[in-house]
Symmetry: C3
Subunit: 278 residues, 3 copies
């Protein structure tokens, strides 16, 4: 894989069969056109590089892994994904990580909300820093279903009651709670996380590819979210965000600081209490 390749928002670093992909889309790792384009390019190239066996996703920003989708670019994001995969859907783009022969690991510091959560849920494994990681799937606070599979993943992982709590409350789960509910594989002390993921990635890369492929294939046959369910949620999300009510809530949120780095440090607080949301 050509490391000098033109990825604007992802820095690559390869060690043997392990590729480290560091997300860097200042000021807050919003999922906008550039990051979607780069993720799509990366996923395609990883697949076609026979020397790669594991890809690790990290963030250059200790406070934000991926914040959420850029709500002013929803249609453009889908179009960019569609150019890469033939179908305008972030969920189906992410799903290629789940079905790939390459093993994907998310190493999570900071906030992972909305489509960021849906991205890590499509990775094969996810580990998070106990002190800093925060998880949110808050789309229902705007009146819509998560657009890229969040409801599908969370309901299967944590059961009906916890998935509903997460989505309807619009609050953050810290890493310990996310571990207890199954959102992530495990929470680790922040200072140990990087070494743990490095060692795991290299260990897996040292084992034979065919074992990884058959395990993923058979586990996917049981637990992978069907593409059709992702398409349904995607359509419901798109219908929702085009209604005047949701557009009004988005405008109102943008005026209150939504999509700014500082205000989203405590997004649950920001989402609270505006009477016109009801």
């Amino acid at each position: 894989m050509n490391h000098a390749a033109n990825l604007e928002t992802i820095k690559l670093h390869q060690e043997g069969a392990v590729l480290f992909a560091e997300i860097s889309a200042p000021p807050m790792n919003l999922m906008g056109q550039e990051l979607v384009r780069d993720l799509a390019a990366l996923i395609q190239r990883v697949e076609s590089d026979d020397l790669l066996k594991v890809v690790v996703f990290r963030s250059a920003d200790p406070s934000y892994f991926i914040s959420h989708v850029d709500v002013t670019r929803i249609k453009e994001n889908r179009d960019v994904a569609g150019q890469a995969t033939g179908e305008p859907s972030l969920a189906l783009l992410f799903r290629r990580l789940s079905t790939s022969r390459v093993v994907s690991i998310a190493q999570i510091d900071g906030r992972v909300r909305g489509v960021g959560s849906e991205f890590i849920l499509a990775c094969d494994m996810r580990f998070a820093a106990r002190e800093t990681a925060l998880f949110g799937q808050f789309e229902a606070a705007f009146g819509v279903i998560p657009g890229a599979g969040g409801a599908q993943h969370l309901a299967r992982l944590m059961g009906r009651a916890r998935a509903i709590e997460v989505m309807l409350s619009g609050t953050d789960s810290d890493a310990d709670l996310a571990e207890r509910s199954g959102w992530i594989n495990r929470a680790l002390p922040a200072r140990e996380l990087r070494d743990f993921v490095n060692a795991l990635a290299h260990r897996i890369a040292g084992f034979p590819s065919e074992g990884q492929a058959v395990v993923k294939e058979r586990v996917n046959a049981i637990e992978l979210v069907p593409a059709e369910e992702l398409r349904t949620d995607g359509k419901l999300f798109l219908q929702g965000v085009q209604t005047p009510a949701v557009r009004g809530r988005i405008r109102s949120a943008l005026q209150r600081g939504f999509q700014t780095r500082f205000a989203e440090m405590d997004l649950p607080e920001m989402l609270t209490g505006s009477a016109d949301w009801k």
Copy 2:
């Protein structure tokens, strides 16, 4: 909703779009005809009140949330449920909470066993007091399957081995164990539980209804227990309780203090060791 409405066993208190329903059926919140009738009436009225978005269930008795079904009134309970919903089944009555646009939260102090457990499992979320809540699904100790969906819910939530353990052991799980196994969303310190649930209920009520509806609908499409499975378990339960062996065990249990407030403080102990049960 008319708060003065004639609910004998449930005290209502409304704050904005949140309705608090406090169960009070002394001496031990048995699920008898009165409580079934009142729950059925409440569920129907909540549904039809467009101003309501969240209903919180609490108990007036700190030792019993809902103890279990009144075993001397199984047929009458079903008939009362049938008058309300058209089908003589507590499971299908409770299931209306799961499918309702209104969000339901159980705030649990004290014992929740048998049909009480099945009631909270049909609510959208459930939070319990760490020091006082106890959970049991003990029907198998009498020789029958839980009658209102317990096996269905528990197997899906906690997996095969833990569901079998809970049902065959006839012991209680405390709130911490219930959290670890997925029976409840979370255990909280008893002194914080009420404020936590209040805040969560009002927070959810502040968000748009259409988001809540679409999230519940899509999560239900994945994880809601099919009505047909509830009917099957209900039939098996009813067949079981009509056999001489089970009727004998019920009589024997009633003689030993079953369905009395004091003896059921430690129901697992009471269930132990009577040789004629085998």
Copy 3:
């Protein structure tokens, strides 16, 4: 049941309706022909003894519950299983425990890896010593899927990400981690484990059989792994172990101490780093 029956690798001890079966196949409780033959005989006899209600599996070796399959005897093991059940499959032999009217409990001290893990996953319940139990499903390190249902059980119990982690990492989980991920019912202090399981087994044996049967039947209808999926994994495993690449890895591992008691005390370490495995 005739306790003097000729089981070479399993010592039997009966107390009332509870049968204790202590696995003793020195030097490390490998799953070879003798143990397969004895497990098959035991499972058949337990089924046919109407006085038995619960069977508890223990190990005579505090360091190994069941280590894993004897990789030099894979075909012979299947044939022995086939003689007992009509189908040459360990997975389908173990599955008879899951579908039996008799309740099965695994009491786990020491290491449980590979087919040992698959055996306990087919039991109705499993409890482990916090200080000594270790769990591994490491077949993918040799390039193959687990052969007797491991992927099926783990994916359903712990979800996609944790099942993939367990199988691709080839590391051990200790009992606390195994509890958190759902691999076992619960971890207990080693000194309390035996008494806990004894009491649970006798308690269950004191309750009526028909309740146990109907609960297992209804839970199995939801969560039991379909036999067809076990057959598919079994075929994939067998195909894998017959390839030159996997045979070479097995030979290489045997030379490095695989299947010796001392070297497998830290099997994950032993699996690491041999360049020819890639």
